[in-house]
Symmetry: D3
Subunit: 331 residues, 6 copies
């Protein structure tokens, strides 16, 4: 499609739709949204901010489920086509060496990334407040929990899809213990996925009247490597007189020093506009947590929670988004 | 249906639907909700948190109406089948011995209960702030107002349907003078419906991340006596980044010491999920205020305000709910 | 229609519908609302609080557009019938003598008024915070920006349609630098549209539990002169547990001392009730900014932002509204 | 001294100083303040808002002690002259019939009053939040605890020194669960000191910029009966940019309907001015809790907590204060 | 003393002390502070933020007095030496043409300036909230009140001591209706002291952790003209966990375009350090409102409220302060 | 003195006073407090929360200085006797490999600890918000800065005085970006002082009405090793209506798993009581940051900031404090 290279494996059966003729947006909604309804299983009240990954010709996911007590749980799911999902009625039970860490209080907003063949789960994990839980699975049957990467209060932890000079890299968004009214993205280094340091500031909200990313921001799915830099899709929050509005945007991070911003999109990519994004448990939320990318074509299927109620999908080409970010960057 | 006894009079013509085949919930929505639209009368902007009672083979109700100045009023209504309601255009004018107490400022969220043949109205009454108003009627023509039971600031006052060792019992929920971000249920005793004392703490919110009853709770309709205890349906509130979410749950209270909790449901019974519950004057509100129970069968018709805009109904069997509470109790 | 005289020019082709048979309201919605959708142009995310004016047999407007970065801009638009609008893709670029004042940061909630043949634009203008921007156009091609009328923080600035003893009169609503939880209307005098003084208090919110105008109020379109006084349609705000609710009401101001209130409507004229008013960027908003009045008949077409998302229209007769205000005045 | 009659028993040895020559105030400080230092006993960190009463020719008191864990306790004390006090190292252990009520969580800001020969203690009692604790003693050895008079959240409960038509009367100040930013005084009736009702509003703060009683008010010592009405000394709170300032003022209540205000002093009687009132645990606090009155002379010794740290005393004549209130009443 | 020219009239008897040997500060406290105690008159509780001016060889002042109801009043005072002051027991009664404007609600924080031989008083004037009151006197007997210069909410209004191209210039600090947590300085123009416009932003707080001027700023006494620019002494506020701390600093404004900053001192000039600045009605306040300058020598006597309780004085040479600002400017 | 062993090196010339005869406290104030006045150097406004360490027979310190711009800086100091201190006029300039980390924004509340012969400095370091800065010096001439240990927002970072199974241990207190109203202590592990993980919760505030440690807590000086466990002196905060009150208490941590609490003192050890603790920049603060311990005798000299204004010292025996904690532990 162009000279922008998308460094991702091939997913020939990636779910996808081409852009409708009357649409000028680089990221556009699936015509049959939402793909996972609020009550897809008996145990769920809402199913929304969730992550997916390709696996052996099909798709796997870790889903945020607010159960019948509205308690936040992580459930596994699988799909042949990435659009029709079958979710487990029972939450994932992580195996953990240390019972204090392994005692599951709550978990939400999972992300998935494959590094050196192993699939890692990151989520917001309750340990005396929200922090970044880490785990992995090799077979999507057994899930292992590692140490929490960071201290509370933190949310939106996302690993890069490869190591840098031996180090794992983790994006995160330090928070407070409530509905945090601030939030900036940082990057941390680790040699072993247990100890983290060399923390670097990546980017802050853009303070301006009514701006879509003026209150706080947080990483979405794992960064997508391209020849122009790592493409990170992230959420930005605006505060109206009636609460938060969550939109999605994108930024290109440096391939060598990925805490450095190359270009950041001034416009959003997706903002609440449909009934399923504007109405529900938390109105006006578009919250991207998962992404499938087909390297050869650059096709992107972005999974995002809608109104904290259902899972929706948007499509686009990574190359188009990279170009959009470069062309519409924040001055 | 089972060995659980429901100690309520018979209402042969109670409005009711059996549970749909695809539904596993013990409390389920009426298929034609809402039953009272926002503008059922000329004087109304919204009609929502309201109470009903069986009366001489038909049904009577006291309705919260936010009028065309959005001022909160109580209007009487009547229905042959409990589903189609005819409401008075004029608000109820209570007769009161003391003009200072009888001066009506505002009234909302009424409840109804019959004790020893007399029908009592309880509501949130404006007297230098919200407090618990009490009144009664013997004929649904003339309404008499008693002294306010408690000091401001209080809401969600509900009488038990019978006396205990001579005393009337009142549940209430002390508040502050705004959109109170806390709230626990207490029980008070009175020999005469005028003086109240021996206040006992009944139960508190359950503080947990995102829990449906984590911010505050308050009694719904008058408790329903069963062989297992008094079944109290109550509302619980969760605080999201975009405001309060009101759900409904249930608790069994001791038959002898009704301020003692036997079992409290960990899951909710009803949480906002439909368009009429999620959209309106106050989005995401399910607020039960009225209940009809047919003793012989245990059929329950629960009337609840939806989105502070309309009145809806849910159905179920009291026995099922009692069993559900016992089986899914808070640990 | 009556002995109330409406002192406005004729607009024979004013958009209008007669009141539906089943409707008792003096102000009623256009059956085809909204008239301007959120994405009427490529540059828009939302289009809502906007102003219109008759011009040479057709209609012109200045529209608030939250662009693809959700930044607030003013765009010009035109219409043959006042219902189908064509908007410019590019925002209005005001000409200004002083570059410090002319540097456009953001602009929103415009109003339009014609005084002595010249069309003035007033808007909430970003200058170290929101304040009252003033401009004018003679041809709807070139727009000139004057000095900001007042210091920040101010919003909802509206000029009267004529001078009083040589002075221009401006209504405004002093604010703070956020989602201001208070707000009263003042009137200021100016001999030259640059210097303003002799500030007079006009009216305050009416503090009462749940009242539609209990939190803050602000002027809507420019006042409409009638034989009974100036009819000012304004918005009032109520604070629920889930945020602000914006309604519209009306007040009659004295013809000689227009900071004096003759009568103020106790009920609202319009409050959020439809899906397009209750769902969107900011749920539950009815925000009138523009009005067309046909003097000979008294027909009124009121343009109001709905849910901070789209532009809607309501119709009525000025005489009916004047009478309604006089008959339903705040005691 | 005048024709104003002070209806109190004689306390010939009441502590007293005449007004200094250079002082024009009707209530003036004891020259040797404070009378009880912060660490009068080993168990104390601070000793402040406390109550006293004459007893068999000497004086008894109940003192608020913030102990070495800063936990709030009530300790008994005695004095021969009302100025040099000896306090118990151990807190008062109330006897109570119901263990749920008698479980002491915390108690603070006690008041004392003698009714029909029995000495009653009222205090802010912790029962799922602050409420009004009631107890009595006949010998200052054994203290009995009654039911909490009211529901939480309430503070500053004070009994009248006699019954009215058989009823006990209680002043109280409904609150919230924190450092309540509002507060009005109410009066409740009880036939038996257990059940309370017929609640009447007495008075509210006076909202004005910087006014000494603009944020909240609360009763001080038990009302003093005079021929002109009940003289109630109360505290009023102002909110500066650095917190609350507590002052003391007075009001005359009707002898027949003591919830009706005859006259309320526009000026304060005492406001923080000395180092021991402006510096300490909570700066800028004058908080009256105790009073001795010698009926025949009208001499008053007012005990007040200073800066939430020590106990101080002020003197004056009841007749002067009554006259001051009548002459300087709020218009 | 140097080549910096101080353009002020001579005040040969200006109160002054030379800098103590052990002091390196350009502005230093009077050794006998405070000069006006809290209860200098019978009517006062506190006397603090006040203004002074030389008059016929002696000194006159307008004093902020919080009276015995803690209501804020303006009282006139006079002094032979500028240190011993005699204040009127009665507040100033301004004469005003318009009774609505002349109705005195409250007034505080006065400033004085002489323009073309007339002495102007500016103060924070209560008119539906705090705004900028303006008045004048020619004889210090009769005081005339003009229109309020600006809309509420505004504070710290200060006129320049001369006209610019015919215009009066006014500094002010827009506020909200409480203990405003923000505040920037603006300049407005007027041809007639009634109508104000051409508003220009002068300067904002400097946001940095713990900075003395990080929360808000406001003009102090009228600007002092020098050859290097107008020297404006202003207050800056820092927010600690225990409230606001008020310090004093200085800025040089351009002689031609006095809304442009030439240099602004990075360090403060005076910050709360003494007992009379740290303890009182509002702890930790240094609030300059008045200044005397002797042109020939450059001697400055700065009058500042201390702890919102008393009036204090600091001394220095204008030339030293100008040089200090130039040498220690904010980068 | 007893069988409790204090595992610290000998400091024969430790500053010390024996307990006064009339004092029963295990920790008692130095009779000549404060030891460092607010303006000990020309550059200082306040000098308070500071750390000290023995060095070659004398004493060294790192002092928090709020400079003449009230900006927070770290200055080195030295003393022969630990009581008379000489401080550098210039702040410490840390050497750092990475300029982004080494750019000093602000630093405050330093601690010092010696591990394996090297002296480490920990402080609250400004890096896009407060976090834990780490550095070291071998000669008190040159100071080296390491990577920030943790992400913002964090404060009160303190290293243990030795390694555990090869790991360094760090206590810290996650915060938000303001005057954090919450705060719990955590422990993190590091093999290299750069990467930190295996985070464990140590202890939380104790929520109770008015409790000295009810709002937040944070580690004080480096833990002191004894035979009974590590003695950690920490600060606890209570919130009154006029702000935070900072006290000091102590806890014993397990020698093997030092995130486990053996005993925690229910009473405080030190709470604001003197004029220099109650009056100043932030009233009512006792904030321990430094400690000297003489191992053979157990003598302790605790350095604490007072009122965020000066440095004070308290004395005691470690054995007494350990015993006090064991005897007065939180149940």
């Amino acid at each position: 499609m162009s000279s922008i290279e998308v460094r991702a494996e091939a997913i020939p059966n990636i779910p996808f739709q081409e852009r409708p003729a009357d649409c000028a947006d680089v990221l556009y909604r699936y015509s049959e949204n939402p793909v996972v309804p609020a009550r897809a299983i008996r145990a769920s009240t809402y199913i929304h901010n969730s992550a997916v990954i390709a696996h052996e010709g099909a798709f796997r996911g870790v889903f945020r489920i607010d159960n019948r007590s509205r308690r936040m749980q992580l459930h596994a799911g699988r799909s042949e086509d990435g659009l029709k999902w079958k979710l487990d009625e029972e939450p994932i039970r992580f195996r953990c060496d240390d019972p204090e860490i392994g005692r599951f209080t709550y978990g939400y907003d999972p992300r998935l990334v494959r590094i050196e063949g192993r699939t890692y789960v990151m989520w917001c994990n309750g340990y005396h407040g929200p922090t970044i839980g880490l785990g992995y699975t090799d077979d999507f049957q057994t899930y292992h929990q590692l140490e929490n990467a960071l201290l509370p209060f933190n949310r939106n932890g996302v690993l890069f899809p490869r190591r840098f000079r031996g180090d794992y890299l983790l994006l995160s968004r330090p928070s407070d213990n409530g509905h945090t009214p601030f939030g900036e993205i940082y990057l941390s280094h680790s040699p072993d996925l247990v100890h983290w340091g060399r923390h670097r500031h990546v980017m802050a909200p853009i303070r301006e009247e009514n701006g879509w990313q003026s209150t706080k921001i947080g990483a979405g799915p794992a960064p997508i490597e391209t020849s122009e830099g790592f493409l990170l899709i992230y959420h930005g929050v605006n505060t109206t007189c009636n609460g938060f509005v969550y939109s999605a945007g994108a930024v290109l991070l440096d391939l060598e020093q990925p805490w450095k911003v190359i270009a950041r999109s001034d416009p959003y990519l997706l903002t609440p506009s449909t009934l399923y994004e504007c109405v529900g448990n938390v109105p006006n939320v578009v919250f991207p947590c998962g992404a499938l990318v087909d390297g050869p074509t650059g096709k992107l299927a972005l999974y995002y929670g809608s109104a904290d109620t259902v899972v929706s999908v948007a499509f686009g080409y990574v190359q188009d988004i990279v170009r959009f970010v470069l062309d519409n960057r924040v001055r």
